[in-house]
Symmetry: C2
Subunit: 389 residues, 2 copies
């Protein structure tokens, strides 16, 4: 049900062509940001799976993580890889596309079809670069809410996501409690820690240190800060794993050789793996977008918007929550989820909490973890019954 | 007691002028490296504190960590800061300069007076750059042994160090058991983990990504890869702390402002702190040296030299060991020390082991930690009595 001045468009430029449907909002439908800036015109790209029922009651929003995108359960148009959450989303999966109408949109500030720093600034006719206004997790959620309005969806049966996606889940539940029947925040936190800010800052400095970043105006220079962005990704990637996972996957095994070369070649498999991760990332992600989405996470402190008391963000909520963490996740340790669960309980919310045994680190939420699947399936099934679905 | 062709010199260039005594070894006294390369001529810079007794039995070698140097207990000639281990080394301190003759030398591959990649390659007349041969922890120890030979010191009462310094302590005990009466390896491991290799690799890639690195030949270009090295240091610095320490020191406190600026400025104190750490490091450390010393740690796997059985490295040893770790050290977690202690016990060694409660992370070994001081003091006093000192 299109509303207002929003119209679906056929996009042209690379950034604007996400191989996804796009909704464009005109000058009269600005996205009003936490910074005070008004983004207009702007657009949002999204994917949907399954069918919206007649009552419009089976919509399920999936929120993507830092460098994810809307291609949650289909082959990625750039990388050719499976969707990033096909472990959980698909026909017969816990987030069942035969049962629910599943929506996933690219975040504002992203680079796969939703307006971000690589988009054209309508006032200059040039890419925004770092003149793009800073966005927050709440801004991402506001943009999603406008998409849902456009799609004619008042209430979500469920909103689910991990990591930065989990932050959006929490923001949804806080900002629009009446629109969220169930919420599944996984491997996330209601506040971004000093250590996580620190890791993000190193990544940003790595990008900005690359002379090909050109003060953020690299698109106009026809280059990209590939080396800096690769270094940022390499460092971040370590934080997504665990020491145990790295030990199990690579240990100190050498790469295609019997003895160390006594050089700076990638002697160790773990080095070669990281270099590959860095190079592959550069192919699919915009460097400035990386700055914006990391910054959005850094700014996330849900309690701060509610007088410093996290429980106040959920006071009186009727949303039912399923919180999950992983034992080896040191980026969003279980203590973060536990604090969240304490606040939810203090707010009188209905909340299930599972800490899942895994040695796979933060990335476990993206992997085939049977206990996660069983947990989400059980929670969703019970919520669907309660919802009459 | 100078031996062979070694001579003390008055050095000239910046790298060669460490404000320390230097011993130079000529073409006839090469340092034979694990890689097979022979380094000659070469030199080693060192500091000493206290007085060698007539029996030459009170020498205590301190081994420095990754980016440390020989200035263990005196004002640093470049930074003007106190020596890096004045918490433990000095008059009346656990490593008592009034009682012991304490020696600390700059590692081979370093940049404060000992031959390293910033030194002049005698075959080309230009700085070595990354033509400098790779060095290992064992090479660092070989160089120290040649220094001790030059100083006429046959046996060490003790060898002590943390982190990479602790690796050297272990290598000393394994390579020269008859020369080491007591050994104090702190916050270290007998094998460098995959995760630690990964972090080091990111740092190296950050340096090498800087165009001012010039393929390692930046000294000739009259520049230095300051941005890349700063990024490397920022990332590494996070690993030296703990989440708890970062939370306590900085939390999410803002830097000289009441509200976030919605920009990429250093809004958070932790960002400002990290940027400062990066900038300060660049002033005092050579980028290529950083590549070499990180690589030396990566290659460290003491068991590998002994048929894959760590205990074999210490079989029959009469050295007495004091092993210490810190609860919040996630770079060299207690599990690393525990594995070491198991091996030492299996080898029949005399070993004390303390895990020290601290929230300060890996850096705790450099800080004023009363339990560490008490532990080292007790161990050293007992060892000194046993040694008749």
């Amino acid at each position: 049900m299109p509303t207002g001045a929003a119209t679906a468009i056929v996009p042209s430029s690379q950034v604007d062509d996400p191989a996804s449907p796009v909704v464009r909002f005109g000058w009269d439908r600005p996205l009003v940001l936490d910074s005070g800036a008004r983004l207009a015109p702007w657009q949002i790209a999204y994917q949907t799976y399954g069918t919206l029922n007649a009552a419009r009651s089976n919509a399920l929003l999936v929120c993507h993580a830092l460098t994810g995108d809307q291609h949650v359960a289909n082959t990625h148009p750039v990388t050719g890889k499976p969707g990033w959450w096909e472990t959980l989303v698909g026909p017969g999966k816990p987030l069942d596309t035969e049962r629910f109408f599943i929506i996933c949109s690219n975040v504002v500030g992203g680079c796969l079809g939703t307006t971000g720093p690589a988009s054209v600034n309508p006032q200059t006719g040039r890419p925004w670069g770092i003149d793009f206004p800073l966005v927050t997790i709440r801004d991402m959620v506001r943009a999603q809410a406008m998409l849902l309005d456009h799609l004619g969806i008042d209430t979500l049966f469920c909103v689910a996501g991990g990591s930065m996606g989990g932050m959006q889940v929490l923001q949804w539940a806080a900002s629009y409690p009446e629109r969220v029947f169930a919420a599944v925040p996984i491997a996330t936190a209601a506040i971004h820690s000093a250590q996580n800010i620190a890791f993000h800052e190193v990544g940003r400095q790595a990008v900005m240190a690359d002379p090909d970043w050109h003060g953020g105006r690299y698109l106009e220079a026809g280059v990209k800060p590939a080396k800096g962005l690769a270094v940022a990704r390499m460092g971040a990637h370590i934080t997504y794993l665990s020491e145990a996972a790295l030990h199990r996957k690579f240990g100190r095994r050498l790469q295609d050789r019997d003895a160390p070369t006594f050089s700076f070649d990638a002697d160790f498999q773990v080095e070669s793996y990281l270099r590959y991760q860095g190079e592959a990332f550069v192919e699919r992600f915009d460097a400035n977008s990386y700055l914006y989405v990391t910054r959005a996470m850094d700014y996330f402190d849900l309690a701060a918007d509610y007088g410093g008391v996290l429980a106040n963000a959920f006071r009186g909520t009727r949303t039912r929550f399923c919180v999950a963490s992983f034992t080896s996740d040191w980026l969003f340790p279980t203590s973060d989820s536990r604090s969240l669960v304490h606040a939810l309980n203090a707010a009188g919310a209905s909340v299930s909490f599972v800490e899942i045994e895994s040695d796979k680190g933060h990335d476990a939420f993206l992997l085939d973890e049977p206990v996660l699947s069983a947990t989400v399936r059980g929670f969703i099934d019970a919520a669907a019954r309660a919802r009459g679905l």
